[in-house]
Amino acid sequence: MIRLIDVYKEYDNGTKALKGVNLRIDDGEFVFLVGPSGSGKSTIIKLITAEIALTEGRLMVNGYNLNTITPRQVPYMRRTLGIIFQDFRLIEKKTVYENLSFAMRAVGASNREVRRRIPYVLKLVGLDQKADRYPGQLSGGEQQRVAIARALVNNPSMIIADEPTGNLDPQRSLEIMMLLERINELGTTVLVVTHEKNLVNRFDKRVVAIENGRIMSDGTGGYYNGEKI
């Protein structure tokens, strides 16, 4: 569960990225966070992943109070999240399997746990036949599936996808979004940051629209819900 209460964020250069944002995402939800470039979407993601600290307000992530979290607790909070990036951020020198095992070893999983979990996750994203391939040998859509598998491999309670389809063609984008929908159906909360209107409108999901650091609309039924943006 994520809870932002009256959150403000001002960067060192004086940019006011968030101006009193209130947002609640409950366990099991599928939420699109939409808005134009510079609207504050990425700032929200960075606050949730504790890459930056908020200026004012309150923020809770999966039971952790980020106002009072200590640096030692941050890794444990991050283990409750699975993060997917637009540019995949896979390690080119490692195979698909190694990219996943790398993420599992990073949180202290044993060899046995790695061997048991990775085939299951690769099958879930449809890449069980490509475990030995290197990222450079895969298509963009497949690489993003590996990134999704990596985000899932540590069994997080929430997946955060930051522009996951930004580098993909419409067909691959749809497939990735359907995969995220399926993951959500299996019980994982999903937060997708995107500005792809057509894609968002194909799914009947909750859409939170943000502009100029403020939530402009929050509801189910498409990108232009409430016609605020």
């Binding site: 991050r78 283990r79 790398f102 990073a106």
Partner: protein
């Protein structure tokens, strides 16, 4: 799922990383070797200088002349009292006759000194000291012994030796200290360059929930392995260079007064020191290098 300390994983990742980033590892080892060779060479020069100065100090002796009114037997009886003086390590008694004969042997025109009376010179003791820095005090103590007529000591020369030695030791310590710090930063920058290529990996690990300790350990292992490799290479190179220089110095006529300590007699000091310094700069450099990339 999480385990606290996975030594096997850290070890395999650290060693694996040395080979996957082969060129940077090679550069780091070269830097460690260069730093250790410079420090080692300078220290060995200082140690040999110290030893040779020590030898020269040992040759520096005091001549204690006994009162002319003392018979040889009475003069010999002073030996016990002189031996008890602090800082005196070794004394030897020379009779008037022995002193005269020694005097005559050193002269070219022996005939001129042939008919000198046998008691023209005084009985004397030659005294060696433990600590040459205390020469003035020892001279004074000897002069206070009843029956001692005069004590001749090259106080200025002795003090000169002490000063040279103190300066050499001080300069060596300061330079080795500076070199150690410089080495640490050179290694840190070399490893930082290697780490820069892996900042993406580190960022991914951080976002997956890896603790700083988990990320740091393979780098510590890597730094340790690079440090040890560098120190072993430097140790054998230093051996070769030292052997070459020592052989040339010993064979050189001009420097025949110079004696060199053998490298093998110092192995039990050099090897642990090289390994220790290598590991310190390897691990220290790794930790300094990675610090910046952990701020995610």
């Amino acid at each position: 799922m999480a385990r606290r300390f996975d030594a096997g994983y850290y070890l395999s990742e650290g060693v694996h990383s040395i080979f996957t980033h082969g060129f940077m590892s090679f550069a780091a080892v070269c830097m460690i070797v260069a730093c250790l060779l410079i420090m080692g060479s300078f220290t060995l020069v200082a140690v040999n200088l110290d030893k040779n100065l020590g030898d020269l100090e040992n040759e520096n002796q005091l001549a204690v002349y006994i009162d002319e009114s003392y018979t040889e037997e009475k003069a010999r009886s002073l030996e016990e009292e002189i031996s008890k003086i602090p800082n005196v390590t070794d004394i030897s008694f020379v009779t008037k006759a022995e002193a005269l004969s020694e005097f005559q042997e050193k002269r070219e025109n022996v005939e001129m000194f042939q008919n000198l009376p046998e008691d023209v010179l005084r009985d004397r003791y030659y005294v060696h000291m433990n600590d040459i820095e205390l020469i003035s005090q020892t001279k004074q103590d000897l002069e206070n012994v009843p029956g001692v007529a005069k004590v001749v000591a090259a106080v200025e020369i002795a003090e000169g030796f002490v000063m040279i030695r103190n300066i050499a030791t001080g300069v060596a310590l300061v330079l080795v200290g500076i070199l150690l710090i410089v080495s640490l930063f050179i290694i840190a920058n070399t490893i930082k360059l290697a780490t820069f290529y892996r900042r993406e990996e580190i960022a991914i690990m951080k976002l997956c929930g890896a603790t700083d300790g988990f990320i740091r350990w393979p780098f510590v292992v890597e730094g340790m392995a690079l440090g040890l490799t560098g120190s072993l290479v430097a140790f054998f190179l230093q051996w070769g260079i030292y052997h070459l220089v020592a052989t040339n110095i010993v064979q050189s006529n001009g420097l025949s007064l110079m004696t060199m300590i053998s490298y093998t007699s110092m192995i039990d000091i050099i090897l642990p020191v090289f390994c220790g310094v290598g590991v310190v700069i390897g691990v220290g450099g790794s930790l300094i290098a990675i610090r910046k990339f952990l701020q995610v």
